[in-house]
Structure formats: C-alpha cells, structure tokens
C-alpha cells in the first residue's frame, strides 16, 4: 500500500521531460495515467528513483483523424476519451469496441492509451488492437523523433523498444485503404479482471471484399499474439461462413495459451476461435446490410 521513496519531477515541456530521462541513468519512469505504474509502486514491484510526471505538458491530450484518414492518439489521451468519442465510434470500430472493456470506468478517466502500450503488459488490450491495426508508436528522445511499428515496439513482458531517454508521444493508426470494420471481444470474469483471452479484429473492406485484415490476441501467450498470417487468408475475399471458420481455426492455432486456473490451453483456444467467428460474422452481417 505504501510506495518506497522517489524523486518527483513535473516538467512543463517535452524537452524538459526528455532531458530528465536523459540525465536519469535509467532510474526514471514516466508517469502518465499512472493506473499501471502507481499500483506496481504501491506493491513495491516498481521502485524508480525518479518519477517524471508528463501530465503538465500541454498539447498531448488529443485524438484526431488527419484529413488523409490517419488516426493520431496523443500521449495523454485517456481511455475514456476514446470510449466516449464520436469520431472513434464512427471511424475506428476496433478501438470503439475495446475502449469500454479496458479496466473499469474510473480507471479509464486517468489511464492513457499510449501509456498502456508502454507498460507492455502481455494481457494489455490496446497492444492487441494496435497489432491488429498495424499501428506505429512515435517516440521522441534527445536525438529527435522516430517511429516504431507496433510489432517491433514490445520486446517482452513489460519491456519495450524505448530507449531509457525516450518518451512515446503518439500512437498512429494508418489510414484505412477501405472501410474500417472491426471488433474486440474479451473474456473477463468480471469488469476489471485480467483477460482470460481476448481478440482484436481490424478489417478494411472495399466493395464487399476484404482488402486488409489484422487479428491479434491477448492473454493467450507471454505476449500479444499477432495472427496476421492467419488473417491474411481473408484478403481479396468476401466474408463467408466457410472462410470465417477457417480463419478462426487458424488464429486459434497460433495462440500460445498456458493452462492455469482460468482454463486449459484448449479452452483458451476455443475462446479465441469463438470470438474470431463472432466478430467476423457480425462484420459480415453488417456489411451485407449496408450493401
């Protein structure tokens, strides 16, 4: 319940924040939403020497579609901003489906999308969404900005490709080639539970046919599982009961679940299979309706 001592800095500019990280010799941690970091510090699983609070840096709390359709989510965009966003509801169905399922409604007022990616919990919802969407993370350090594809961003449980003196400042979801369709399903025994298994599906559909397909899973391995190869078999086709079943089985096959008190690995694969089927079926039905 009681964290150990640390130094606290609350820089007013991004440059100051980066300078603090740079001089911190790897003993610093960035504090954004704090809904992952603070609980770990309270249990003394994390004990950074210095905490750099970026909440006072202006112009980081945004999410918007650029005119070309690229979606940009700033470092301080809170989960609930996405949950209540009209533009997300209209334009980014995978994010719209996942947002209400992240933690609980009170945690969602503070926790951030980008911060969640940086925390790199293998069961994290947003990492699965970003993999499915083929997103990128924009990071900034003393040498300037760079972009890291989401698939290269997480190196292992709670480990990212961020250098010790870099801050993630934005998540970028590329503009969809067709119409963005998607969904997110999560088996949690109650609100706020860890996922027993969850699936993010992100499709782009033009003229009733899939032009891009991304599927990713959380909770069924030591990391987010990217099932893009399995998903890619949908490209060029309209969704049918048959190819949905094939993809669902293929996605379940690349999951790496462990048996534990939440269920056997077979059970977790079954959940994946079921969720993929349900999401794709729902997309197929609504695509038919729209047509």
């Amino acid at each position: 319940m009681y964290p150990s001592r640390f130094k606290y800095e609350s820089p007013k500019t991004l440059a100051d924040a980066i300078a603090l990280l740079d001089s911190g010799a790897g003993e610093t941690k960035v504090l954004a939403g704090g809904q992952s970091l603070v609980p770990m510090m309270k249990l003394r699983f994390a004990f950074p020497g210095t905490v750099v609070d970026i909440n006072n840096i202006p112009d980081l709390n945004y999410h918007r579609f650029d005119s070309d359709g690229t979606l940009r989510i700033g470092a301080l965009c809170r989960h609930e901003d996405l949950e209540h966003s009209d533009v997300i509801a209209k334009g980014q169905p995978t994010i719209a489906a996942a947002a209400p399922l992240v933690a609980d409604p009170i945690v969602r007022t503070r926790g951030t999308f980008v911060g969640s990616l940086c925390h790199a919990d293998p069961q994290g919802d947003w990492a699965a969404v970003m993999i499915a969407l083929g997103g990128r993370v924009v990071v900034q350090g003393p040498k300037g900005k760079r972009e890291i594809a989401m698939k290269d961003f997480v190196l292992g449980p709670f480990q990212t490709a961020l250098e010790f003196n870099e801050i993630a400042i934005e998540a970028v979801i590329p503009a969809p080639a067709g119409q963005a369709r998607g969904g997110y399903l999560k088996l949690e025994r109650r609100v706020g539970d860890f996922a027993t298994a969850s699936v993010a599906v992100a499709l782009e559909i033009t003229g009733g046919k899939v032009v891009r397909a991304g599927i990713a899973m959380a909770g069924v391995g030591g990391k987010t599982i990217d099932a893009r190869d399995a998903a890619s078999s949908l490209v060029g086709q309209a969704l049918t009961e048959a190819n949905i079943a094939t993809v669902a089985a293929a996605v379940a096959a690349v999951a790496e679940p462990r048996s534990d008190h939440r269920g056997s690995s077979d059970y977790k694969r079954q959940i994946i299979r079921t969720f993929v089927t349900r999401i794709l079926t729902s997309i197929a039905n609504s695509t038919k309706k729209a047509a």
């Binding site: 009681y2 150990s4 462990r258 048996s259 269920g263 056997s264 059970y267």
Partner: protein, 793 residues
C-alpha cells in the same frame, strides 16, 4: 385516537435508517478514521512461503530506520509468553512465528513507527532466512501418514488430523440404506472463500500506564468476547479493559476472531506507552484472516422409489488451515453441519466428520455461514438435486413430497434439532409461479433453437438461527445469551444499549422499532448504542444471524419490563388499581372510562417526579435473554440461467427469492439483507474463491485474483415474503441476515447443472467459472476444484 404504529416507526415500518445520516455525509467513524494523540503505526511482516523453518531473523536495519520506535519478533513475544495465544476452538495460534511459519502470509515480525510509510520501509529491510518445507494444500495430503507434520509445536499431535466427530444413528442409517430402492451419491467440494468485507481489520490499542487501563478500538463483531479473551491472553484485569467497536465496514464473520495483529498492537502500546494503530491491507486480510468453507462432502441418500428419502449419510472432511481457530459453539467441531436436511421429513441420518490441518490461513467458520450451515444447506440441496435426477423425478415435486408439512410441527429432525414452524409448500408454490416453472420446457426449447442451454435450479432450506440455548451452546464456556438495557428519560425519550454489534444490519434503526412496538415511544425518540464494553451490557456479539433472535428478544423483554413498571405508575397517576388499567400503543387508560388515560411520556415524567409510595424512582431496566430454542426461517430460492455453450459463460435470466423469516421488523432492511446475501451467493457460485498451487502459494490474496462481482455482473433479484411467526420469540421474528448466503449458492449451481443434465454431468465444483462449465459440457465429466492448481502447458 390510537397511535399509528407504522407512522411512529414501529414494527413493520420500512423506517429509513438512522445510521445513514452520518454515512451519507462521510462522517462514519471507522477504526482507521480514529486518531489519538502521539499515535504510532504498526505494519506486519508476513511470511512469503507456506511452510518453512525460520533459521534466522535480522531486524537490525529495521531498528536503524529513522522513525521506527519498536520492532517485535516472535522471540520477544515468547519472552512475554505471548508468542502463542488460545483460539476460540481450544487450540493455539501463533501470534508471531517462532520456530516455523505454517502458511503463506503468517505474521513474522511487526514494526511500529511514526507513520505507516516508514513502518513499511522498515519491514522491507528485515531479512528472514527460511528453510523451506513441503506444503500441504488439501486434506488428502494432510491425511497421508508420510506427509510432513504441520503442528509439531503441539504435544500429542502425531499427524495432521484436528478432530473426528460423529452424530446420528449409524446402525439405523445403515439399515435404511440396506432397504433402499435406490442410493444416490454425490461428491463435491465447497471451496475456500473469504468474507472479504470492504473494510479490512484493524485496531488502535491504547494502554494508559497511569490508570492501568487498556482501551482498544477495533473491528470486532463481538467486543465482549474480545474483552474476555484479552483479559485471559494479556493477563490484564477485565474491568481495566475497554473494547470499543465503532462503525464497522462490513463483518460477515471475518471480524469475530481475535487476530495476531490485535494482540501485537496491544503489546506494542504497552511497551511504547503510546497508542498503536494497526490497519491491515487487503492482502493481509485475504491471506491470513478467517476464511469460510473448504469442506469436502461424500453424500448419500437412501431413496424409496416413490421419492421418499429414507436416510441420509454424510461424510465431511474439512480443511482448517494451520490452526484450529473456528468461532463456533464449543460442543460442535463442525459447527451446525448436522442441521442439514432439517426441512425434510427423514427418519434417520448419520454424519461423520474429520478435520485436518493444512498450510493455509486458519479459520473456516465465517462468511455469513451461521456456523457451517452454508455448507450444510449447500450439500443438502446438491444431494437433493442428484437424488431427484437419479429417480427421474421433478426437482420441485421431489422436494415437496419430502418436506415437513405445515401441521407436523414441532418436528424433531433426524440429527436431533427441533424445528417449530414453517409453510414450506407455500413458499415453494410462490417461487415456482414467479419463475414461470410451468412454462419452462417451452422456454428451454426456444433457447435451444438459438443454441443456448437453459436451466432452472431450486434451493429450499430451513436453517437454525439465534444460537443459542445455554443448555447446548457456548463459546469458550461462555453461554450464548444476549442483552439489552433501556433507559427512559423524564421527557419520555430513551436510550437503548445492547450486547450486539451491527456491521451494517441497521440495529440503530431496528432495535428502536421494537421498543416503539412495545412502548409506543416514537422511534425517532430512541437512540441506540452498541459496541463499547464499558457501557454496553454483556453480549456475545453479532454473527450467525443471531441478533434479531437473541438481542432483539432481549430488547422486547426489557421494554416489557419498563412497561410493567409504567403500568404501576399509570395506576398511581389515574388513581385506580392496576387491574383497571388497559394498554394501547403509547398509552394506559382506565378500562371503564377510556377517555381517562396517561401517555407513556407522562409515566416517564412521573417516574422522576411523582412516584407511587414505596416505588424506586427512575424508569430503566435491563434484560438478558437465553433463547429457549433456535429459530427456523425458511427460504426457497430459484434461479434461471442461460449458458453459452461455446464459451461456458452463464447468465442469470431471473432469480426469485421467497423468504419466510417470521415477523419482519423493518421490511426494507430485511430485503437489503437478502439481496446482499444473494449477491454473495452469486459471487461464490460464479467467480469467487481462494486456491493454492503446489508450493502453497495463495491464489486469491488480492482483488485481482479474488473476484467480487460488480454491479455489472450481479443479477437483479425478485423478492417475495411469507410470514410464519416464530412461536417462541417475543416478537415472532426469526432472523434473516445469512439466509440468502446459506441457501443461494445451490440455486445457481443447481440451475447450471440442470442446463447440463443431458450431458451426463453430476457436479461442477464452485466457482462455476466459464472454463469449468465448458469442460463439463464438452466432456460430460464432473469438474472438481481441489487444490493445488497447476500452471502448465
């Protein structure tokens, strides 16, 4: 014009709660809200391992931490004869570990410092060297003669068995089984779970060296029991001990035992000469304090082919953790487990019960269990479900033909209890109608066409509340009566104190309603106090739903004593003889001239200013109530669930609760108790349990692993009422606080099992998590939950 009893807040009024006035303003007074001058803070270092010899403890760095005032080890406690303390079940429990740790989370050291952050810092600097021993996490391992001995601290403890206990008629039961047309068997585990009130346990011990008085503010459901125990353990004189239970943020039996933290805080206050506050964290609460259940059943019913139950055989094995510390009437090793089947007319029964030590937290009797009646009734209704299925009989009709009939009371159960009242069939009828039982086959077929599995589960039971009569019931030798003291002031306003201790049940509101009923004083003119042993009359506290049956009866009795004295005063004021006086609510009047009367308030004034000759002035009294028998509320709970067979997730479509708890003092509060209990039943049935891995690591020691349902998962409940007054209780009430937790789980489980009937599944152990349901429905096999859980591939 007679007073309107409902309007003045008497019995039957859904009087809004007095307690709420402070709680809704955030002005509750919980233990952690209390601040005493110069107060220090205590943090406990707990064992990270389940079973180990302690090789060394180095506290030097803790002592060196600025702001630390005292560091206590088991060795220091032992020097003062306080390393071990007696439990409420005549065993001993370690206060701070000396030789070994015997469960993960056991208390090893305590640090007392200027603030809790510093205390935690210092704890983190203590170095303990453990020599790990094998961990025992279930009774099979405990019973194995080759297993390690857990309680090697005890003499005459050759193995890990705690007790063997037996009740009933073995020979008669064996005969009944030999003559049966069919024998129905079931084996299951009621898993370990935890009451987990939202507020953790805590104490502020304040020893005043100048006066020799020890005051302890603590989260206790039974402050007088604590006072007696502290006098024993700390060897302080009882009249110099004051236990104050202020507002308590939920108890559910978790706050009955005396925990090491309380004892250590008392010693720390004596040694530092300052008040010492100890507030545990949620992990400490879940991993070390009084859990509930963890009992295995082998149950058999001997059946006649027309559906009558001829005999009951139960064999229970219970897991008590490292110390036998159950708080229960001392005569019964497994509580009132033998109250099972009390609502059914069964000629003969036999139960054998064995308890074992394991490397887990001590306890078992807690969590709204009425002394293991939760286990008894869950086992009963699971056995009944299996039997009805085995006979191919309808679940409701099987129960109905075996019920004790309305005209068969008083009824002696096969295990020796005496039930006295009930309308079981009527409750069942109401429940079946409300759930749409007749139409269910259609509903089930419709759902099946959508690929969903529907099931209905019934749970009916009568349970023993209000422990208990002094002939049979005691805790540590103290009889289980309760008490009330009533003082009526000269203006007719009153102060009532009882030996009970509310943790949310609303006694400040409801006890006043009983006084209003008896005396006609408006409820808002009566203030109710509980919890301070310096002022409250001696009582055994509030748990096991005993307060309405026992303390509530004492309240009625003391109010009647007051009324008897007031009657004499009235006669004096009205200048007639007592035989000419009649009573109506709030007023005595002359029988032959009804307009001539005096109010109770006028009598009160006269008690101070115009007494009859020879009468002691004042208008106050007390009453100690030794209940003649237990009370027997009845409940019929019916759940309708829908399973998604592709995931094993099940939803509650409808839940109906028919409760007969006798006369209801405050219907609103009764319904609140039922809904709260049903939610806990749902929690246990669906998601909430504590388990262990092979090394004895506790899974369920925080709210990420120990799952409480939120408002989103929790279903709605439809409540119905039947009233069969208790024939021996002064106001006909029976008590209800735990009924729903006792009877509820079986309704949910039976419903899921009903939905899976065609798959050949007989049992899934709680909690019925989606993966367990899925496994059962796809394999047709039963699913058991005995620990250890294995993490594998």
């Amino acid at each position: 014009m007679p007073l309107d009893e409902i309007k003045i807040g008497g019995m039957g009024a859904s009087r809004r709660r007095v307690e709420d006035n402070r709680f809704i303003r955030g002005k509750g007074n919980y233990v952690d809200d209390i601040v005493l001058p110069d107060m220090l803070h205590m943090e406990i270092l707990r064992s990270p391992v389940a079973h180990a010899r302690i090789k060394s403890i180095d506290v030097s760095k803790a002592w060196d931490t600025p702001g630390v005032r005292l560091v206590l080890t088991g060795e220091m406690m032992a020097a003062r004869n306080l390393a071990w303390m007696p439990t409420l079940s005549y065993d001993t429990q370690a206060v701070l570990a000396t030789d070994k740790v015997r469960f993960q989370g056991q208390e090893v050291c305590a640090v007392i410092a200027d603030d809790p952050y510093i205390a935690k810092d210092a704890c983190a600097k203590i170095v303990v060297e453990y020599e790990i021993l094998p961990a025992i996490v279930n009774p099979l391992q405990a019973a194995d003669p080759a297993s390690v001995l857990i309680r090697d601290d005890k003499e005459n403890q050759p193995g890990n068995k705690v007790f063997d206990w037996e009740i009933g008629d073995k020979a008669g039961t064996d005969k009944a089984f030999a003559a049966a047309d069919k024998i129905s068997k079931i084996e299951l585990h009621y898993p370990r779970t935890h009451p987990s009130p939202l507020e953790c346990c805590g104490s502020i011990a304040d020893y005043d060296r100048a006066t020799g008085k020890l005051t302890v503010y603590m989260t206790s459901q039974a402050p007088h029991i604590v006072r007696a125990a502290v006098a024993l353990v700390a060897e302080l004189p009882e009249h110099q001990i004051r236990i104050v239970s202020p507002d308590i943020g939920g108890g559910f039996g978790n706050k009955v035992p005396i925990y090491p933290g309380y004892v250590i805080s008392i010693l720390a206050s004596i040694l530092t000469e300052k008040p010492v506050k100890w507030i545990e964290d949620k992990t400490g609460n879940l991993i070390s304090t009084g859990f509930g259940r963890d009992v295995y059943l082998k149950g058999e019913l001997a059946l006649r082919k027309d559906g009558r139950i001829l005999g009951v055989r139960m064999n229970t094995v219970s897991d008590h953790g490292a110390f036998f510390s159950d708080a229960q009437p001392s005569k019964f090793k497994i509580g009132l487990m033998h109250s099972a089947f009390a609502c059914y007319d069964i000629p003969v029964a036999h139960m054998m019960s064995t308890g074992y030590y394991t490397n887990k937290a001590p306890g078992g009797v807690a969590y709204r269990c009425s002394f293991r009646v939760t286990e008894a009734m869950f086992f009963q209704e699971r056995m009944v479900q299996a039997a009805a299925d085995d006979l191919g009989m309808d679940q409701a009709e099987f129960r109905r033909i075996n019920f004790v009939k309305d005209d068969e009371f008083p009824h002696r159960t096969a295990f020796g209890f005496l039930t006295d009242s009930g309308q079981y069939g009527k409750c069942l009828d109401i429940g079946l109608e409300a759930i749409g039982y007749k139409n269910f086959a259609k509903e089930k077929a419709e759902a099946a066409s959508r690929g969903r599995l529907l099931g209905i589960g019934i749970s009916t039971m009568t349970e023993p509340l209000g422990a208990g009569n002094s002939r049979e019931y005691d805790i540590l030798g103290i009889k289980m009566f309760d008490s009330a003291e009533l003082r009526v002031h000269m203006s007719g306003k009153a102060l009532l104190r009882t030996g009970a201790k509310s943790q949310g049940q609303g006694h400040e509101t409801t006890w006043a309603q009983i006084v209003t009923h008896e005396l006609g004083i408006p409820a808002e003119d009566i203030v109710v106090e509980e919890g301070d042993t310096d002022t409250a009359p001696f009582g055994m506290g509030t748990y096991a739903s005993r307060s309405t049956p026992v303390a509530g009866a004492a309240v009625a009795m003391v109010a009647r004593k007051i009324r008897a004295k007031a009657r004499k005063i009235a006669a004096h004021l009205l200048e007639v003889s007592e035989e000419d006086i009649e009573w109506e609510l709030g007023r005595f009047y002359v029988r032959s001239n009804q307009d001539r009367g005096v109010t109770i308030q006028e009598c009160a004034m006269a008690a101070y200013s115009n007494m009859p000759d020879g009468m002691e002035p004042g208008l106050e009294n007390n009453a100690y109530y030794d209940p003649p028998n237990l009370t027997w509320p009845f409940a019929c709970y019916i759940a309708k669930v829908e399973i998604d067979p592709e995931t094993g997730v099940w939803d509650v479509l409808q839940f109906v609760a028919v409760d007969d708890c006798g006369v209801r003092i405050n219907p609103m509060i009764v319904e609140g108790q039922i809904m709260g209990g049903l939610t806990e039943a749902y929690a246990m049935a669906n998601m909430q349990y504590i388990t262990y891995d092979e090394e004895g690591n506790c899974i369920g020691a925080n709210y990420m692993d120990f799952l409480l349902p939120t408002a989103w998962e929790t279903p709605g409940f439809e409540l119905y009422e039947v009233v069969t007054p208790c024939p021996h209780h002064p106001i006909g009430a029976k008590g209800v606080g735990e009924c729903a937790t006792v009877g509820g789980p079986a309704a949910f489980v039976n419903a899921v099992m009903d939905a899976l009937k065609d798959k050949g599944v007989r049992n899934i152990d709680m909690p019925l998590m989606p993966n367990r349901v899925y496994e059962a429905l796809t394999t047709g096999n039963d699913v058991y939950g005995m620990p250890p859980v294995r993490v594998g591939n």
